[in-house]
Subunit: 255 residues, 2 copies
């Protein structure tokens, strides 16, 4: 168990550890807020903050009046796995690698300029890579970086290092990402790079990554072999915390 900066993060990690270790099995009821508050010597609010994190991750249920329970299903944790191919590969026990097809500095196309929120024709860096899991090509990545970020790329060994992680060390931190996911047929170039027949179904994601202030850092179009990856989404009424739209049956009368 690693010491985190915040108390609630420590408690949250302890609970995650307990769940993955099997102390709390699938469907098992977790300790109450007050129990945990006493155990860890923190206030109930801090325990609630820890639970909120696990709730957002889809790890546990939460209903008024009832103990929280562990939700089934294996989960991949963390924001970094979603934005970094390398981090994701390691998380599932695979060896990530990459082959750079092209890295150029050029004027942004109109769509790129729009996504990166830069003036039309502004200079950007564009990187094309094939990403491999244990030597097998599984994804073609075409990423446009804003100039400030792209200028750091030549100093990074893109075949072995994780760009995202290296950038983080250089204080370029990703905080938010929007993903658009659809399915397309492999064109000639993607088919060749992925070593599949033309027309093979590909899972394509278009992702815009932004820094903590909301400024776009990169815009990437990633095309995965359809048989190589599954995107998993967990969501809940709690995570979106939005009111129900329904019409509760009014006992009083008509409307």
């Amino acid at each position: 168990m690693v010491r985190e900066g915040a108390l609630y993060a420590t408690v949250a990690q302890a609970l995650r550890d307990g769940i993955s270790r099997g102390d709390y099995r699938d469907g098992a009821r977790l300790p109450s807020e007050s129990e945990l508050a006493e155990t860890y010597g923190v206030s109930r609010g801090t325990v609630r903050q820890a639970f909120a994190a696990l709730r957002a991750e889809g790890l546990i249920t939460s209903r008024q009046g009832a103990r929280r329970m562990v939700l089934g299903g294996e989960r991949v944790q963390g924001f970094s796995e979603l934005i970094s191919f390398s981090a994701w590969a390691r998380a599932i026990g695979e060896q990530p690698s990459g082959r750079v097809i092209e890295l150029v500095r050029r004027a942004a196309t109109d769509p790129e300029a729009a996504e990166l929120d830069v003036p039309p024709g502004a200079m950007i860096y564009h990187l094309t890579r094939v990403r491999l899991l244990s030597g097998q090509p599984v994804m073609v990545e075409r990423t446009a970086y804003v100039e400030r970020v792209g200028a750091l790329l030549p100093g990074i060994d893109m075949a072995t290092e994780s760009i995202t992680e290296r950038l983080a060390e250089l204080d370029v931190v990703f905080a938010d990402a929007d993903h658009g996911i659809d399915a397309v047929a492999a064109g000639p170039e993607d088919a060749a790079l992925l070593e599949v027949p033309e027309g093979t179904p590909l899972l394509r994601t278009r992702r815009r990554g932004t820094d903590p202030a909301g400024n776009p850092l990169e815009f990437s179009i990633d095309s995965y072999r359809g048989d190589a990856v599954v995107f998993r989404v967990h969501n809940s009424v709690a995570a979106t915390a939005l009111a129900r739209t329904g019409n509760p049956p009014r006992p009083t009368g008509s409307d």
Copy 2:
């Protein structure tokens, strides 16, 4: 503006309204916590709870020391749009409809039993529908319902009503959903139902929906025309809802 049950929900909705009304434009800085606390006559904690909801929705940024800002980009609303085709269709301004291919009560297959957390061979309801947007077939839906829920289906007009919304009125409420998204080639049956050539890329989602207590209610395999839909997901360091799961193509040689 509708009165919500909780104070923080009222504040959150007021902020959403302000954003969509344009009071706070893209990139604009929002009022501080203390300002809002005074404005609405609530404590700072309540304001923070409201902001947390908007943060989880990907509507705003949040960094220590700096005012929160409005994030750009159109958003997918909430939980209901991901779990209900009808709700989603309406949200994008399309007319949803459905054509029932088959509704049967039968014994669950092993995978179905596992997903629905019922004993092997238990009775379930299985529904096959083609879903249409403005008359165009865009998705084939194959859903297994636990018996308790499926027994309600015959009373629902599945061609025009939203099953999810009708079930909510009957106190069958979805609270969580796990989605697995990948890309596959259309087989003969799907191709016929969707009126596309065999082999056309389809975006397939496998979804398990559970009630507030974590009990599975339905397991659905939805196959969308790849050119008809884009899934949008927002995630952030603050709230992670998306994950990739590996299914690496096995090299035939070593290992």
